[in-house]
Amino acid sequence: MSDADNPTDDASDEFEPIQVFPEAEEMDLRPGADNCYKCSTCDTNCPVAEVDDEFPGPKFQGPEQWRLKRQDDHDIDESVMKCSNCMRCDSACPSSVPLSQMHNTARGEYVENHMSKFSREYVRNRILANYRRLAPLAATFPRTANFVMGLSITRWLGEKTLGITSEREFPAFATETFRDWWRKRGGAKVQNEDQKIAYFHGCYSNYNTPEVAKALVRVYEHFGYEVLVPPQSCSGTPMFANGMLEDARRAAETNVRELAAALEDGADVIASCSSCSMSIRQEYPELFDFEDTEDVAANTWDALEYLRVHEDLEGELEGASVEGFDDFAYHAPCHARNQGLDGQTVELLDVIDGVDAHDVGDSCSGISGTYGWKAENYETSMKIGEEMFDHMDTADAETGLTECPTCSMQMEHGTGYEIRHPLEVLEAALFSDRPETA
């Protein structure tokens, strides 16, 4: 493995007891709690409160808990660990109460102060949150890893020893990572001083679905962009969701530094995973204040969104058709919805002949990253997903489509459908008359 692959994998990154997270500790969110006028809109949007009796809902989790903390030194309630960090409450609140910021800091505080660092739960959460650290190893021996991970004994052990549900199959690792492919390819094929993007591929499209990352490169090069692939760490999404704020902070620091350097170089930042872009755009500025954090957030875009705004994407696709794809059952991930991106994929596929995307409704898929992997959440996760599975079943399509890696795992798990990424369809449409470049 080269350094470029794993820029932050040095010895200091071993699993050590978590440090106090200074910025979140100092953060006083209580004034935000005063904006709450108790309308309960957030509660009616929470997929967990709808199916899980134990969960008190976002209004309690956010403003009420912060109010209690002001009155006396109340401890964070353990139910915060049941929040899946889907962030639906955050975008629902008409009064702009910073709910997800409250949940993230409460979770961090709970894990820091109330969860034993030797408990099975902590170790398991740490492993799930730091999936990226295991991935390089597996990627070095992908076939062995896929074989071992697929064994029922491994899954059984996972459940017994770690509390990782044995109901799910681990996603397969690609035999060649995106970064390996990129290096072998010799990097960018298009040089352009005036049009550059820095690609934030995230972990999943590097290790598991490099075809998505390759599609992004081809699509952007087609429009004449020079693609940079800066060194990068995990976006932090699974770390926020598990209250591992110190891990997230370290990852974010690397990313902000590298991406800021790319901005300096004249590039805009592009992500293909909706949770990665959400994290950089919203959670970084809410939780950290490294130099350039705001700048990086404001200049990070979703891959399709950027092309829609900066190129005549629809004009380019006019008359384009694709073969080899059936119609899609499209699920908009919560984190895309929160960024106002929920409609764009269906709109785009509308323009392309030969393939349609049927929106399967606005429910949450229920997996929310690492949430649905935990044995104790598996049932809740599947109950939340039921509405989406139903709608996928009745949609006129047998292939799924979504931007989020974990939503795609859930879609596949609940329906058996094969799941694709919109960039793959866009690539096929743009290159329909040309043989695929390897």
Partner: protein, 433 residues
């Protein structure tokens, strides 16, 4: 490149959704951009046209008879009676079997969770068997874990209001729910999926368990009213099952916020938007606008803010439906009330102390704050001229009425949404030709 459409509607509440649907009646491309969730989720799901008039004390029997008594600047006077009727017909078509009340001009009288009687023009089918004009006796059922609906108290209030039937209230526990702050969506979900719950004799579905819990309270009443949480996606099925099991008519009593009938209405509208091909972008606000070159009176494009990134959206016609002080379409600072996107003129007293009058129950001037408009609903500047040629406004961003006092909220949103959307759609055609 801006994202291009023919009509751009800003705000996705009842007014914005209606405007988008009305515009989409023509062969034009319509987009709706909306930020946070609208007041539909708080509202009762009832469509009030006009419950009380400024000149009358009691509830109105027929809202149309009182239109003449409204001030000239009232949105209803701007659009006129014919347009209000067309807008309601448009809604009836849209709602289909989900709403009732279109058979008459007269207001229906709907019992509420507080035990008051509300005059309204259209009501969900789920509420229909509960009308106060019906003479059959009623049992109201509340749940121990649901403080928002005290059935015995509501029954007492209704009796005191002199309803023409006997009404009793009973409280039971809701099968499968223990926590006292369970969300209405939790109740609805349990009924929707008819989740199996453990009882002494094994497991039964929640619907059957609820029937069992209520049966014993019935004393020959012909209809039973539940708080409005009987299912969401499968609400009709839930109600039918309960009615069959109990052998009586079952209806829903509208509740305070958050409200399932409001959520269902929202779903109905957003499904209709999808069917009509309206493109919806939600979760992001419109923050500012640019005019086209030299012509100051024409909006060229607006800017949507996405966590700091600016995404331009261009259309030929725009509709502003961002809500009032609650929806944040109109905002207030110490010294002024303003409309934040286009800075349209909002008339109000210069002296802050004149915004309020002393009595809590008196008519509050601030409730009428909002934009004034012409007959096409183009917002007017301080001199009474349209602010922009291609901007119209709808819903509670408009001033000149007090929806809470008049009970006219949804009616004004529907009527003005319909008129603004229709004009916007037609104006696109003019430009194209």
């Amino acid at each position: 490149m801006a994202i291009e459409d023919d009509v751009l509607v800003i705000g996705g509440g009842l007014a914005g959704a209606t405007a988008a649907l009305a515009a989409a009646e023509r062969d034009v491309r319509v987009r709706l951009v909306t930020y946070k969730q609208s007041t539909l989720r708080h509202a009762s799901g009832l469509i009030d046209v006009l419950g009380y008039a400024p000149t009358d004390d009691g509830p109105l029997t027929n809202p149309y008879d009182a239109l003449e008594s409204l001030p000239d600047s009232h949105p209803y006077r701007l659009v006129g009676e014919a347009a209000i009727r067309k807008a309601l017909a448009f809604f009836d078509e849209l709602a289909g079997a989900a709403y009732a009340g279109s058979h008459t001009d007269a207001n229906a009288l709907v019992p509420t969770a507080a035990g008051t009687i509300k005059p309204t023009a259209r009501y969900p089918t789920a509420t229909a068997p509960g009308l106060a004009s019906d003479r059959r006796d009623v049992l109201l059922v509340g749940f121990e874990t649901l403080p928002g609906f005290d059935a015995p108290l509501a029954a007492a209030h209704l009796e005191a209001a002199g309803v023409p039937f006997d009404v009793r209230g009973a409280t039971c526990s809701f099968p499968g729910i223990r926590r006292d702050d369970a969300k209405v969506t939790r109740y609805a979900h349990l009924l929707d999926v008819d989740e199996a719950i453990a009882v002494d004799a094994g497991e039964i579905g929640v619907r059957a368990a609820l029937i069992e819990a209520v049966e014993g309270h019935l004393e020959g009443e012909a209809r039973v009213g539940f708080p409005a949480l009987l299912g969401d996606e499968h609400a009709d099925e839930v109600r039918t099952d309960l009615a069959d099991g109990l052998g009586v008519d079952v209806f829903e009593v509208p509740m305070g916020p958050p409200s399932l009938p409001g959520i269902r209405l929202e779903d109905l509208l957003y499904d209709a938007l999808e069917d009509a091909g309206v493109r919806v972008t939600s979760g992001v606000p419109v923050v500012e606008y640019e005019t086209a070159g030299a012509s100051e009176d024409r909006i060229d494009h607006v800017v949507v803010d996405r966590n700091g990134a600016q995404v331009p959206h261009r259309a030929t016609q725009y509709v502003l439906a961002t809500g009032g002080l609650v929806g944040k379409g109109v905002q207030s600072e110490r010294q002024r009330v303003y409309e934040p996107i286009f800075d349209c003129h909002v008339s109000h007293a210069d002296d802050r102390y004149e915004w309020f009058v002393d009595g809590v129950f008196d008519e509050q001037p601030y409730a009428r704050f909002g934009l004034s408009a012409d007959g096409e609903l183009r917002p007017l500047d301080a001199d009474g001229k349209p602010e922009f040629r291609n901007l119209r406004a709808a819903g509670s961003v408009l001033g000149g009425y007090d929806y809470a006092a008049e009970k006219s909220g949804s009616g004004v949103s529907l009527a003005t949404g319909y008129v603004a959307g229709t004009h916007a759609g037609e104006a696109v055609d003019e430009v194209i030709r």
